[in-house]
C-alpha cells in the first residue's frame, strides 16, 4: 500500500482548503470550522445522506450535493450558504415537522433535541404546510427503553450504530415513503427482540425523543454521545 496520500485543493465559500483524497466536503468543512447543518450525520458512523440538510452548491453544476456523502474534488468551488440553500433546508425541516407528531413542549427530549435546535438555528418559527397528524405507535415493550415513532425522523442513526458499532443489527427500516418506519428484528416488539443486547447506543445517538430511556419526564432525556468517537478511536488503534 502506498503511503502517498493525494492532496486535493479546492474552495469552500471562497476559502482555499485542502483535503486528503476520499474525504467528504463535510469533513473538510468541519476541519476548517465552516458550518454546514446536519441531522442524520454523526461522527463515528457511516454517512447515508438521509436528511439532506447538509446540501451544498458546487459552482457550475445545477444540482445540489449532500456534503456528507460527496467527496472533495480538485478545483471545485463549494458554496455552503445561499438563499437557495436556506430555502431548501427550511423546507426539509418543515417537512420533517409536518410528517409526524413532534410535540416539543411535552417531549422528554425538549431542550436536548437536535431537530428542535436546528429549527431555532435556521430561524424556523412555524411551518408553511399542513401537519399530517398521523396515528403512530409507541413501543414500550423493552425493559429499559422506549421507541416513540411519533418523534422519529428516519435518520437511521440507530440502525447504523447497532449494525456498525454494536454489531447486533437489531434495527432496520420497513416500508416506503411516508409509511417507512424503524423496526426491531422482523417487525417484532423491541422487548421480544432476540438480537438486542440492551446496550442503549441507539438511544444515545437518536437526535430526537424517538428513542429514550424509560422513567424520563418532559425535558429530562439528555443524550450522551461522547462514547462514539472514543469507541471508534480505540478500535482503530487496535487495528
Amino acid at each position: 500500500m502506498s503511503s502517498q496520500v493525494r492532496i486535493l485543493t479546492f474552495k469552500i465559500d471562497d476559502r482555499d482548503v485542502s483535503a486528503r483524497e476520499g474525504e467528504t466536503i463535510l469533513e473538510v468543512a468541519r476541519e476548517n470550522g465552516i458550518y454546514i447543518p446536519t441531522l442524520c450525520h454523526l461522527e463515528g458512523l457511516s454517512s447515508t445522506g438521509a436528511c439532506r440538510l447538509c446540501i451544498v452548491e458546487i459552482a457550475g453544476r445545477p444540482k445540489l450535493f449532500p456534503a456528507c456523502v460527496t467527496r472533495a474534488e480538485e478545483g471545485i468551488q463549494v458554496i455552503t450558504q445561499s438563499e437557495r440553500l436556506t430555502k431548501y433546508r427550511r423546507v426539509i425541516l418543515e417537512l420533517i415537522f409536518s410528517e409526524r407528531n413532534h410535540v416539543c413542549s411535552v417531549c422528554v427530549s425538549n431542550g436536548h433535541c437536535e431537530l428542535q435546535n436546528l429549527a431555532q438555528k435556521l430561524g424556523m418559527s412555524h411551518i408553511h404546510m399542513r401537519y399530517r397528524f398521523p396515528s403512530l405507535n409507541v413501543d414500550a415493550s423493552h425493559d429499559r427503553f422506549i421507541m416513540d415513532h411519533n418523534r422519529c425522523i428516519l435518520c437511521t442513526r440507530c440502525i447504523r450504530v447497532c449494525d456498525e458499532i454494536e454489531g447486533a443489527h437489531t434495527w432496520d427500516l420497513m416500508g416506503r415513503g411516508v409509511d417507512a418506519r424503524i423496526i426491531s428484528d422482523l417487525d417484532q416488539p423491541w422487548g421480544e427482540s432476540e438480537t438486542c443486547t440492551g446496550c442503549g447506543k441507539c438511544v444515545h445517538v437518536c437526535p430526537t425523543g424517538a428513542l429514550v430511556e424509560k422513567g424520563k419526564s418532559a425535558s429530562e432525556m439528555a443524550k450522551r454521545q461522547q462514547f462514539l468517537p472514543y469507541l471508534t478511536l480505540m478500535r482503530e488503534e487496535k487495528e
Binding site: F97, N101, H102, V103, C104, S105, V106, C107, N110, G111, Q116, N117, A119, Q120, G123, M124, S125, H126, I127, R130, Y131, F133, P134, S135, L136, S219
Partner: protein, 177 residues
C-alpha cells in the same frame, strides 16, 4: 400619539400564555402607556371591538367557537400574533387529532365520567375534526413559539409591534421553550 388597540384571546390552550403575559409584572404599566387592552380573558368586555391594532391569539383552533373568534379577530385587526406553541403548531391540543372527535368525547364524557355520563350537546361549542394551528385558518403576521413564550419575549414582541416593527424572535424563543 393615541394608544394602540390591543385584544387577546384564549382558544384551545391552557392559559399559560396569558399567565406568561401577566408575568411581565411592572412592565405591564410601561405597556399600558402605549396600548389599551380592550378584549380578552383579562378584560370584562364581552364583545370583540372594531379597529384593533394588535391581537394576540393563544391556543389552537379546535371548536366552532374558536373558528368564529379567530376569523372575526383577523378581520378586525391590523396585526395578528400567534402567541405560543398551540397557536403556532397546535401543540398539545393536536394530540387528539389522530383519534377522531367521537372517541375523544367518549373518553372524556362517558368512559371517565362517574356521574351523568354523556356528551354535552348544548352550550359547549362543537369540536372541529382536528385542532389546527391558527395559520391554517387565517393569515398570521407574527409567530411567537414557546410553551409558554417567556414574559421577556412577549414584552419584546409587543414593544417592537408598538414601534411598528415586526420582531425577529429566532434568538429568543423556540418550540417547547
Amino acid at each position: 400619539m393615541s394608544k394602540l388597540r390591543l385584544a387577546t384571546t384564549w382558544l384551545d390552550g391552557c392559559s399559560g400564555c396569558h399567565m406568561s403575559l401577566l408575568d411581565m409584572d411592572e412592565r405591564l404599566i410601561v405597556l399600558a402607556e402605549k396600548v389599551d387592552l380592550l378584549y380578552g380573558p383579562l378584560v370584562d368586555f364581552k364583545k370583540i371591538p372594531k379597529d384593533l391594532d394588535i391581537v394576540l391569539i393563544e391556543g389552537a383552533v379546535s371548536s366552532e367557537d374558536d373558528l368564529k373568534k379567530v376569523r372575526k379577530l383577523r378581520k378586525r385587526s391590523k396585526i395578528l400574533v400567534a402567541l405560543g406553541d398551540c397557536a403556532v403548531t397546535a401543540n398539545v391540543p393536536a394530540m387528539r387529532n389522530s383519534f377522531g372527535v367521537d372517541s375523544v368525547l367518549d373518553r372524556a364524557y362517558k368512559e371517565n365520567a362517574a356521574l351523568n355520563p354523556g356528551v354535552p350537546d348544548e352550550i359547549i361549542p362543537a369540536l372541529l375534526p382536528h385542532a389546527r394551528p391558527v395559520r391554517e385558518i387565517v393569515p398570521v403576521d407574527v409567530f411567537v413559539p414557546g410553551c409558554p413564550p417567556p414574559a421577556d419575549v412577549i414584552f419584546y414582541t409587543l414593544c417592537e409591534l408598538v414601534e411598528g416593527r415586526i420582531p425577529d424572535l429566532s434568538e429568543q424563543t423556540r418550540f417547547g421553550k
